[in-house]
């Protein structure tokens, strides 16, 4: 009996020390991590909005929900902010598209002008297969094709459109493409951009 108590106590001691160390480090790092995430999001917004026009642009901060896990479903209500230039003229919108990929919810930030044409994009978050779907983060592999398109032409060639998917990563490519198209359709329904294809 005494032996069991002694051994159990030692194990408890190890666990308690570990828990205290983790709690302490977490209390120091969590505000720094949150701040960095916010900064990364703002940098992405500035970068993507820069594709609408050069010069000074103003926009509100977009709220990007914290995902509980990489596969979390995201509420369909679309968060959109409008981008205006220094004279107050509305140039376009920024929004984040959530596409359920192969092993994560891929979040893509999109800039679209008032005519409904995508002008810029960047992947905010993905946890797709390294070497395959993860290539979606490299703009030269896939997302470069989005610029200059509107909702009607956002379709993979496998689905009858004109976009080449990443080799071996059709699920990721399709998730991103369809989520962006859904986002544009939602903007269209909200009356912010003209009906798909009407820009031509």
């Amino acid at each position: 009996m005494g032996e069991i108590l002694r051994v159990g106590f030692m194990l408890m001691l190890v666990a308690v020390i570990a828990a205290v160390a983790l709690g302490y480090v977490n209390s120091i790092t969590s505000p720094i991590i949150a701040e960095q995430k916010e900064q990364a999001k703002l940098d992405a917004m500035i970068d993507v909005a820069g594709s609408l026009a050069s010069g000074e642009l103003t926009f509100d901060s977009l709220s990007v929900p914290e995902l509980e896990n990489p596969y979390a479903e995201v509420d369909e209500t679309l968060a959109v902010v409008s981008v205006t230039d220094s004279t107050g003229t509305e140039l376009g919108y920024l929004f984040v598209a959530y596409g359920k990929g192969y092993s994560s919810t891929v979040q893509t930030m999109i800039a679209v002008n008032t005519a409904g044409t995508v002008t810029g994009n960047t992947v905010l978050y993905q946890q797709e297969t390294p070497g395959l779907g993860a290539n979606v983060s490299n703009p030269a592999r896939f997302l470069y094709q989005f610029d200059g398109l509107n909702a009607s032409s956002l379709l993979l060639s496998k689905d009858g459109g004109g976009l080449d998917s990443i080799t071996g990563s059709t699920i990721t490519s399709r998730a991103v493409t369809n989520s962006v198209r859904d986002g544009l359709d939602a903007l269209c329904e909200a009356g912010l951009i003209p009906v798909s294809g009407g820009a031509q």
């Binding site: 991590i33 070497g131 071996g168």
Partner: protein, 203 residues
């Protein structure tokens, strides 16, 4: 055994992947590109050195009956600390290694060395053993990733080797899971033949 031997045995003679067949999960999963292999190798080496250090330091305090759960707690705590600190202070590095760090907890090389070496040896040899095993693991990962990245993507460490036309139509199976198993069989087979030849020569 000398300190130099403690270091060098992990690279060839007792290489964790080729000779002990440990750490197969990351060896198969993360070797899709050389960059990933190097990242995983570096992160695992880091954790291995510190877990060997702590296990060796407390080898006389931790009761034998609960040593395994204690080691797991030590390793998991350390991995989480690395994850949090790296996320806060080295965000660029965390971005590229982030997904591999939690995987280190289940890397059996770390537990294997804690149980097989660090709990029987003094602190300094344990640290050196950790560095050596980490190097051996990284080397094995890079060898595997070299084959997979060149065949499956036409590049090495991101540099395009085989040209645009190959990249558009690569030998994709090398990057997918079945290709990992096939290549692993070839690589392990090669090392086993080498081993047999060496033994035959010594007779």
């Amino acid at each position: 055994m000398s300190i130099a031997q403690d270091f060098s045995k992990g690279i060839m003679r007792e290489n964790p992947v080729f000779k002990q067949a440990l750490g197969m999960c990351p060896f198969l999963a993360v070797t899709t590109s050389v960059e990933n292999a190097l990242g995983m190798g570096a992160a695992a080496t880091f954790v291995l050195v510190f877990s060997n250090f702590l296990v060796s330091l407390f080898r006389k305090v931790i009761p034998a009956k609960v040593r395994i759960p204690s080691y797991i707690v030590i390793i998991a705590t350390f991995v989480t600390l690395v994850d949090l600190l790296m996320n806060a202070y080295l965000p660029a590095l965390h971005q590229s290694l982030g997904i591999f760090i939690p995987l280190i907890v289940v890397n059996c090389i770390i537990l294997g060395r804690a149980e097989g070496f660090a709990n029987k040896n003094k602190v300094l040899p344990s640290i050196v053993d950790g560095v050596g095993m980490g190097f051996g693991f990284t080397l094995a990962m890079v060898i595997m990733a070299t084959f997979r990245e060149i065949l499956g993507n036409g590049s090495w460490l991101g540099f395009n080797l085989l040209g645009e036309s190959y990249q558009n139509q690569p030998m994709l199976i090398a990057i997918l899971a079945p290709g990992a198993f096939i290549l692993m069989a070839f690589i392990l087979g090669f090392f086993n033949i080498m081993e047999k030849r060496k033994r035959g020569g010594a007779k």
